[in-house]
Symmetry: C2
Subunit: 338 residues, 2 copies
């Protein structure tokens, strides 16, 4: 019970310990985003969350409608020097090669097996799609999940020499947790393969499989030895990129986000769709500006190209995170040193 006496006693104790900092209550004192430097980006996030969670306030949003969507590659984890899923696909070509003698006579697969990445790159997006389709089909969803998990537990990033799951962005982990602590449902909406991502999103981001939306292939229900399995087919069902992102959000979530974060032109339509929410909404972009601690790239990059979406964000006053200046740390627990 809060009597006047207890209240004064409390004030006295607070005075003893020191009001600022040391005696931080979780509700008002603790910094929910400790890896973010103070600045406009951090402030815009905190202001938004404060407003939409203030009951009775003009911008209040009911918890069930607090949908937040995040791109994955380049927004939640590293995407350079090439998309991690493509590195996995390349490694899978090598691992699966003895089960696929037909690959030996195909120029594309021969180049992969010979480690001639220049020749692979010369095949462009078509080659990439073919490699992904070949290595991501013909097995059950259970076996595929296992092969991704095995890879994630062993494969190392060429520059940072650590596991790929060590190269998630610490400031974004804090942001995900901060939103969830404020009643948000956090979703991933990525051009990456949905089953590839689901192998690690729950452990790495606290995002369960049913909140992961991604590109997907057709799976087919079959009976193998009288047991039902889902077999991955080499046929695209849905491409969750560009306009596919709002389409995928509608298909999976059925609700317009009030918060969205991306890092490339592939996120433009998701951000525009969020901006059309007809109430207070938050649109954010991660701008990769830190060649020393991570990478610096934008308009001319073939991976994670950020050009039109950057112009739109700057023009409309969306939040643009300057990685170099806005993020105190990039990766968790300094596992990765550049």
């Amino acid at each position: 019970m809060l009597t006047r006496r207890n209240f004064l006693l409390g004030l006295f104790i607070v005075g003893l310990i020191g009001w600022h900092g040391a005696w931080a209550t979780p509700a008002q004192g603790a910094d929910p985003l400790p890896s973010w430097n103070d600045g406009a980006a951090k402030q815009s996030i905190i202001d938004f969350v404060t407003k939409v969670t203030k009951e009775g306030g003009a911008d209040y949003v009911k918890p069930e409608e607090r949908v937040a969507t995040f791109d994955n590659d380049g927004t939640l984890w590293i995407e350079m020097p090439m998309y991690n899923q493509f590195v996995f696909a390349i490694d899978e070509v090598k691992r699966q090669a003895n089960q696929h003698p037909e690959w030996a006579s195909k120029e594309l697969f021969k180049s992969v097996l010979a480690g001639d990445m220049k020749a692979v790159a010369a095949m462009g997006e078509k080659g990439m799609v073919e490699i992904v389709a070949a290595t991501h089909s013909g097995m059950t969803t259970v076996d595929f999940n296992k092969s991704v998990k095995d890879w994630l537990e062993t494969a190392k990033h060429p520059r940072f020499k650590v596991l790929y799951t060590d190269l998630v962005y610490q400031p974004m982990l804090e942001l995900l947790a901060y939103l969830r602590a404020n009643g948000f449902k956090t979703f991933i909406v990525s051009g990456g393969g949905v089953e590839f991502m689901r192998a690690f999103t729950e452990t790495s981001y606290g995002v369960p499989p049913e909140r992961v939306i991604g590109s997907s292939g057709v799976t087919q229900y079959q009976m193998w030895d009288a047991s039902p399995v889902l077999v991955k087919r080499p046929k695209v069902l849905f491409v969750d990129d560009g306009p596919g992102k709002p389409e995928g959000i509608n298909h999976f979530i059925g609700r317009q986000p009030i918060f969205a974060f991306g890092n490339s032109d592939g996120d433009k339509e998701m951000l525009e769709w969020t901006a059309a929410c007809q109430r207070l909404c938050f649109m954010g972009l991660v701008h990769h500006t830190d060649a020393v601690r991570e990478y610096a790239y934008d308009r001319d990059s073939s991976v994670g190209k950020l050009d039109k979406a950057l112009d739109e964000a700057l023009g409309k006053g969306w939040t643009v995170v300057d990685m170099k200046n806005d993020w105190k740390t990039i990766f968790p627990a300094a596992k990765a040193s550049p």
Copy 2:
């Protein structure tokens, strides 16, 4: 603090009030399924939930893996004398007719407009698909949602003369709530249209849009008057029926259910997929046996045909709910009298 003295005092008070019944704690006394008659079906549900939620028990399942999937038509709400969504489509043909002068020259639509349901029925499934495609496309997702909501607020069931949302099954509402109170995530997995269902599942079942999986058409991101919209196209994206149910569960949830309920052969593969979970799982069927309070139909019905799945359920000892004997009441608050 529970001292020996407090413990004995507690025992004394319990003794005074009477141990059995009158002093029911929510945890052990209250019946979570009051509209279910005592019997094998009800007991099988309670036994299952008790086992998978008992920490340290052999059958314990972590909350994040407690995925429960429910068919909708005939499992959570009425589906006779024809699927409610098809009644909606018929009504929409009438409502939209003046915007579609081309329908006047088409035999199928002429029959609908003339109220000649025999002629419509003679067109079979092909006719039904055509009517649904025509009335469920060409508008934005927002406008479609509004037209479903308007219809649900006014259209009455031909026999019960109440709103369709009054014809949800009270015992299943209790089951959904019971599962959620025990940490389950409840999903709908239905052959019905996903956007049709999302207009009422949150209000009627407490199932939010992102937990509704259904058949779907392609939606397309477009700019209308410089504002982004999602436009429904007359093209099927995904049919969530039969083998499509486990495929849809994988696509949307990415996890195998441990609990599934259906009522027709369209649910067979979902139940088989659940049964293959390699731990304690629950498979249930609603058998419509009550011609007086609802309807009685199974093997020969064109709507909600239950034949092969019934044999499989009986053969494998899955739970089969005998609506007439297992359910004390059918609809909530006796809104509907037959």
